[in-house]
């Protein structure tokens, strides 16, 4: 990386209390957790007595007002601390990561894992997203979860989640990342099943944890394999020697990266392990925003980006990453087309966008993948929070009139624009962003990914050329679908006539300040957030304002120290990437085409669906044909149940009742019974009859006499 003898001028940078950034959310967890436990006692006593403890009626106790300040408070402090460090790092021109080691976690004769954090450009950008967007979502939750008796428990879990997520991105070695990895899985389980009295919701949490664990298997195996090769498992140690130790495209590195891919598909909900994410919508909506949109699900992308050196050395796996990504993007988009629950649409949209991120890191565009991670965090969090505001409002209305309708079903909405204008506006901004329409954030990030895919297809020594062309086409198709289903969501929810009911309408209202201010901030980020990374070609063109506006490839440069090793490997082996798309045309041309196409889709959809009559959920007919298949998610869950879950359960039962009870235990009992039988036979000698005893007595004497006689 540096030529020998040349010293790049590096401003020595001391991070400010980085450990505190991690500890603050943990502290929040401890405080909120204690408050939750004490509140839970009161609630439990009430339930035992036959009722519920109404925290509203009895005045809000400290256990319910303190978390309002502690929860978002620690987040704000963490964010500010992160910001200070970010600014510091900006000025420092760091080329090597800064490592702070606190204690030795595991130390055996051969293996040494330190409890250490690594601060570099990649971890810093992740930290900013986590603490920043996390803070906004915490604030939103104050309004959203106001009336929930589990209020302190909610914030405890949410703080704990941020703690683990920070551990994940700040860890200096794979085992430390793994702590965060499983930890966020735990919090996801706790938060999805937050309303645990509902069996469906509790089961959704359980499903998430178990499916995630399948991915965790991959993570562990990758760590073991790396340990076998390197005798150490920290990033600096592994990445430093990786190029020298591994054969490009060799079996070992391919196996390691495949294991990591398994882990990533589990955490980031890609095919085949995405099935937990739609069910995860059972949790409170801010949870869906934070965990299942902005942060936890991006952990897989982060993993691959962090391990960019390893993936660059394994072209087969990278192609697989990209393939899984684009297939998932397309597959999930098709399902989103026909979902009626607003959160389900967003859930499948998330799966789909994660697919884009995978596509990005799969073709070696690590920065593009992380860029899309960032912009997606902005607009998806916004969409979820907005949906949360809508659901909150719908709940209120339906609750007031005791109407038994589903507050999340879009067929029961309609025309909400009049009642929730801020939500409407901000969500439209997010929709335009996610559809990839210029000049919103999503345009730049999605465009770059699609462009890089095309560039890869035309690279000099591209390994699977035709394949990448296919990826490129599929990515474009998925983008069009994205525009369609998002526009559909907006139209069904906010436009047209209101279907909720005339009595309910008067209770529909805009969200309170704690809820719409975060929306507004996220909207601003969704609008302007893309300008931090405009590629060179675009900058000079109309799409970049002809170079007037202060935009730049900032993110690329920022992440360069982290990604350059991988890029070099890629350049060495793949040669130069193409400068034209597979079907011809430059970046600017395709940028224009995709924007115009997406915009057209949105407008046409709005026009077509806006005038169509939508039946409310209870009166709607069952879908048929292809619609039915899409609505039923291609019956994937059913497939898994039939071919994976049920067979395992059946085998378990057979193992129990037949093998364990009958065969193994049967043998044991058999031995016991044989002994008893022998004893019973022996007991037949005990007749109680004197004659018998006399007989044996005599026989014995004769035997002894005989023996004496024979000896003598």
């Amino acid at each position: 990386m540096q030529a020998a003898g040349l010293e790049e001028p590096q401003v020595a940078w001391e991070p400010l209390l980085p450990g505190l950034i991690i500890l603050l959310p943990l502290l929040g967890f401890a405080i909120n957790g204690a408050l939750a436990l004490s509140a839970a006692r009161k609630s439990a006593d009430a339930v035992r007595a036959g009722g519920e403890f109404d925290f509203l009626e009895n005045g809000r106790p400290a256990s319910h007002s303190l978390p309002t300040w502690v929860g978002p408070g620690v987040m704000l402090l963490a964010f500010l601390l992160t910001l200070v460090n970010f600014v510091g790092m900006l000025g420092a021109e760091l080329h090597e990561p800064v490592i702070r080691s606190y204690w030795t976690w595991i130390a055996t004769g051969d293996l040494n894992v330190a409890a250490a954090i690594q601060l570099d450009q990649l971890s810093m950008i992740m930290m900013m997203i986590i603490t920043g967007v996390g803070f906004l979502i915490h604030v939103f939750s104050v309004g959203y979860m106001q009336d929930d008796p589990g209020y302190p428990r909610y914030f405890a879990y949410l703080n704990l989640f941020v703690f683990f997520m920070l551990v994940l991105v700040m860890g200096a070695s794979y085992p430390i990342m793994f702590i965060g990895w499983e930890g966020v899985g735990l919090c996801s389980y706790l938060l999805i099943g937050f309303w645990f009295s509902d069996e469906e919701k509790a089961s959704a949490g359980k499903k998430a944890f178990i499916v995630n664990r399948i991915g965790d298997l991959g993570f562990l195996l990758a760590i073991f394999l790396l340990y076998l090769v390197f005798q150490q498992v920290d990033y600096v140690g592994v990445f430093g020697d990786a190029e020298a130790v591994f054969v490009y495209g060799g079996p070992v590195i391919t196996t390691v990266t495949l294991f990591f891919l398994l882990a990533a598909t589990g955490k980031s909900a890609q095919i085949p392990l995405y099935i937990w994410l739609p069910d995860a919508m059972a949790g409170p909506t801010p949870v869906s925003a934070l965990i299942h949109a902005a942060t936890m699900v991006t952990a897989g992308v982060y993993l691959i980006a962090r391990s960019s050196v390893l993936f660059a050395l394994a072209p087969l796996t990278s192609a697989l990453v990209a393939g899984i990504g684009v297939l998932t993007a397309l597959f999930a988009a098709t399902i989103a087309l026909k979902q009626q629950d607003i959160k389900k649409v967003l859930a499948y949209s998330t799966v789909s966008q994660l697919g884009y991120m995978f596509l990005g890191v799969g073709v070696g565009a690590y920065t593009a993948g992380v860029f899309h991670l960032m912009t997606h965090a902005f607009f998806k969090a916004l969409l979820f929070l907005g949906a949360g505001a809508v659901i909150h409002s719908m709940h209120h209305a339906l609750h007031h009139t005791h109407k038994d309708w589903d507050a999340q079903d879009m067929r029961n909405m309609g025309g909400l624009k009049a009642y929730m204008p801020i939500t409407w506006a901000t969500m439209w901004l997010a929709t335009l962003a996610i559809a990839g329409i210029w000049p919103f954030a999503g345009f730049f990030s999605k465009d770059e990914i699609i462009w890089m895919t095309g560039a890869m297809a035309g690279a000099e020594n591209a390994p699977y050329q035709g394949l990448y062309t296919v990826y490129w086409i599929l990515a474009l198709a998925a983008a069009m679908m994205t525009a369609f289903y998002m526009a559909r969501l907006m139209v069904m929810t906010f436009h047209g006539e209101n279907r909720t009911g005339s009595r309910e309408v008067e209770h529909l209202h805009e969200a309170p300040k704690t809820m719409w201010i975060p929306l507004a901030i996220l909207a601003a980020l969704s609008v302007f957030g893309g300008w931090v990374n405009v590629t060179t070609d675009l900058r000079e063109s109309v799409l970049g304002g002809f170079g007037f506006l202060p935009m730049s490839e900032w993110l690329h440069g920022w992440l360069e120290p982290v990604t350059e090793a991988a890029h070099q490997i890629q350049e060495t082996h793949l040669g130069e990437l193409a400068h034209a798309a597979p079907l011809g045309g430059g970046e600017v041309a395709w940028g224009l085409i995709s924007t115009v196409a997406a915009l057209s889709v949105v407008l046409v959809t709005a026009r077509l669906l806006g005038s169509r009559k939508v039946a409310v959920a209870v009166e709607d007919t069952e879908p048929t044909g292809l619609s039915r298949i899409l609505f039923n998610k291609w019956y994937v869950d059913e497939f898994y149940h039939r071919w994976v879950v049920d067979p395992i359960l059946t085998t378990s039962r057979v193992l129990w009742r037949v093998v364990d009870a009958k065969i193994i235990d049967g043998t044991v009992n058999l031995l016991g019974n044989v002994a008893r039988a022998a004893g019973w036979v022996g007991s037949l000698l005990q007749t109680g009859q004197t004659n018998t005893y006399a007989f044996f007595f005599t026989v014995g004497v004769l035997v002894i006499l005989a023996m004496i006689g024979l000896q003598g």
Binding site: I106, D110, S197, K206, F224, L228, S652, W656
Partner: protein, 521 residues
């Protein structure tokens, strides 16, 4: 301070004889005083045992410390000889830590015939501490068999419906294995006499005996059978579910936390150092590793479909011990330390699980999972404790369960990648058996009125669970002190194993070049 008290001279003796004194005291006293006396005596033993942590110094190498030896049966060369090394240190402390907690957990559970019960618990402690501190093989065997008697009575008298069947099964099954071991012991003694002219049962003397590979193989088999039944290793595990289900809660706690460890301790203390040629013989290693993996997966699958919560946890013990066996027979530092750490973690977490199940049983008088539901709403603290313990059991990083499993798997993977892969799938199945039970008991709707009346944790119960949960987290976050303390002794065991390896044998060290992986030139 410890030196001032001459701690080294009397500590181990105190740990064995004080519970015996306590037992006599309990039998002498009034019925309603019995439990308090038992608690005080076991707490005293625990407090005294804490000093062991500082008394044992790993810097002195991995050999025995705090040694003492008195002739007992001189004509046979049997000595009353005690000692402590890095491995037995933790086993002893686990025992002295668990016993007072089990006693405290019995307070509301044992209503009739309390005196004999608490006396038997203390006698059990005598036996187990004796097993872990004996450095004379005869003495070891005596203590080993001694533990069977109180356990038999505890299960048979204060247990559940099928207690007599379970108690007899437990006793006969385990004793049968030990008998074969006795033959082995006597054989070793006889060889020692014949080859070296030494009449002694002391470990240090017996280790000098040059046993032929053939002898080592069948002796390994004899000893292994005894310990394999105790651990329990598949397929000798079927006594465990019955024993656990029928035993009273405190009996289950001690059985799981401590008695099972005697088996794996036996593997490490005897099988590896005494019979190193056999221990690393490829077929033996493969057999043990395969049985370990089968234990992990099979037991997990069977656990998942159990309707009885206690039986479920019993099977999880088999699964955890599978990890221990895999770690031990990886025959490297990581694996062995991992196995030991799993033993410690399992003792605490499974002990806690049984205590928690016992608390549920005291409230609802049922162990069937489907009888519960929604308990989390009326007993949130109990639910919290249970969830944390369950997470430790399935090895969530940050808890003690993870470190041990991780190291054991690393160790296994180093030398036997295929086994390592299969064993690691155990982490998925752990979630598969644990989470549904947690959900069925604590989550879901609160339907039954009997469940609605369930009380949350009392102060006594918090006092029991708090130290256990604290340990689970502390060991999970900072296991290094434990690892450092046990390392020299572990190295000593492994050195004996490696020393017996023929130069051309396929004993694979953790050296990447030898492992056959492709590397770039």
């Amino acid at each position: 301070m410890l030196n001032a008290l001459a701690y080294e001279n009397w500590a181990l003796h105190a740990l064995i004889w004080l519970p015996l004194l306590g037992m006599v005291h309990v039998l002498w006293a009034a019925e309603d005083r019995a439990k308090w006396l038992a608690l005080r005596w076991s707490l005293l033993v625990f407090v005294l045992s804490v000093g062991l942590w500082w008394a044992y110094d790993p810097a002195l190498g991995g050999g025995y410390q705090l040694e003492s030896s008195e002739p007992w049966i001189a004509t046979w060369g049997v000595n009353y000889a005690l000692g402590l090394d890095g491995i037995s240190l933790f086993m002893v402390m686990l025992t002295t830590f668990t016993t007072p907690l089990a006693v405290l957990g019995s307070f509301n559970y044992i209503k009739k015939r309390q005196k004999p019960f608490y006396a038997l618990m203390l006698l059990l402690e005598v036996g187990v501490v004796g097993v872990f501190t004996a450095v004379d093989l005869f003495l070891f065997y005596v203590f080993f068999e001694l533990t069977l008697v109180p356990m038999y009575f505890i299960i048979g008298i204060w247990g559940g419906e099928r207690r007599v069947y379970a108690a007899i099964k437990f006793f006969l099954y385990t004793a049968f294995g030990s008998l074969l071991m006795l033959v082995g012991i006597l054989y070793i003694y006889a060889r020692g006499k014949a080859l070296l002219g030494v009449t002694s049962f002391a470990f240090v003397d017996l280790l000098q005996i040059p046993l032929t590979p053939g002898e080592q193989m069948w002796l390994f088999g004899a000893f292994a059978l005894a310990f394999a039944i105790k651990v329990p290793v598949f397929p000798f595990h079927t006594w465990l579910p019955d024993a656990h289900v029928e035993a009273p809660t405190p009996g289950s706690v001690v059985l799981a936390a401590v008695l099972l460890k005697m088996g794996t301790y036996g593997f490490v203390r005897f099988l590896l150092p005494f019979f190193p040629v056999a221990a690393q013989h490829p077929s033996v290693v493969t057999l043990m590793l395969v049985l370990g993996v089968v234990g992990i997966i099979y037991a997990a699958w069977v656990a998942a479909v159990q309707p009885d919560a206690k039986k479920l946890v019993a099977y999880t013990s088999v699964a955890h011990m599978g990890f221990v066996v895999v770690g031990i027979f990886a025959l490297n530092v990581n694996g062995l330390q991992g196995g030991l750490l799993v033993m410690i973690s399992h003792g605490i977490s499974t002990g806690a699980l049984f205590l928690l199940l016992g608390m549920l049983y005291e409230r609802r008088h049922t162990r069937l999972i489907h009888e519960f539901g929604g308990i989390g709403r009326v007993a949130p603290w109990l639910a919290t404790a249970f969830v944390i313990t369950a997470l430790t059991s399935i090895g969530l990083p940050g808890t003690s369960g993870f470190v041990g499993e991780f190291l054991a798997l690393v160790g296994a993977f180093e030398d036997h990648p295929g086994i390592g892969i299969f064993a690691t799938t155990g982490v998925i199945f752990a979630a598969y058996y644990m989470l549904p039970m947690v959900q069925s008991i604590f989550f879901n709707a609160l339907e039954k009125p009997e469940n609605q009346a369930v009380q949350d944790l009392s102060r006594r119960e918090v006092a029991i669970l708090a130290p256990m949960i604290a340990l689970m987290i502390v060991i999970g976050v900072h296991p290094t002190p434990l690892l450092r303390k046990m390392e020299p002794s572990v190295q000593m065991v492994l050195e004996r194993v490696y020393a017996a390896a023929p130069p051309s044998a396929a004993v694979i060290e953790s050296d990447p070049d030898v492992s056959g992986f492709e590397t770039a030139e």
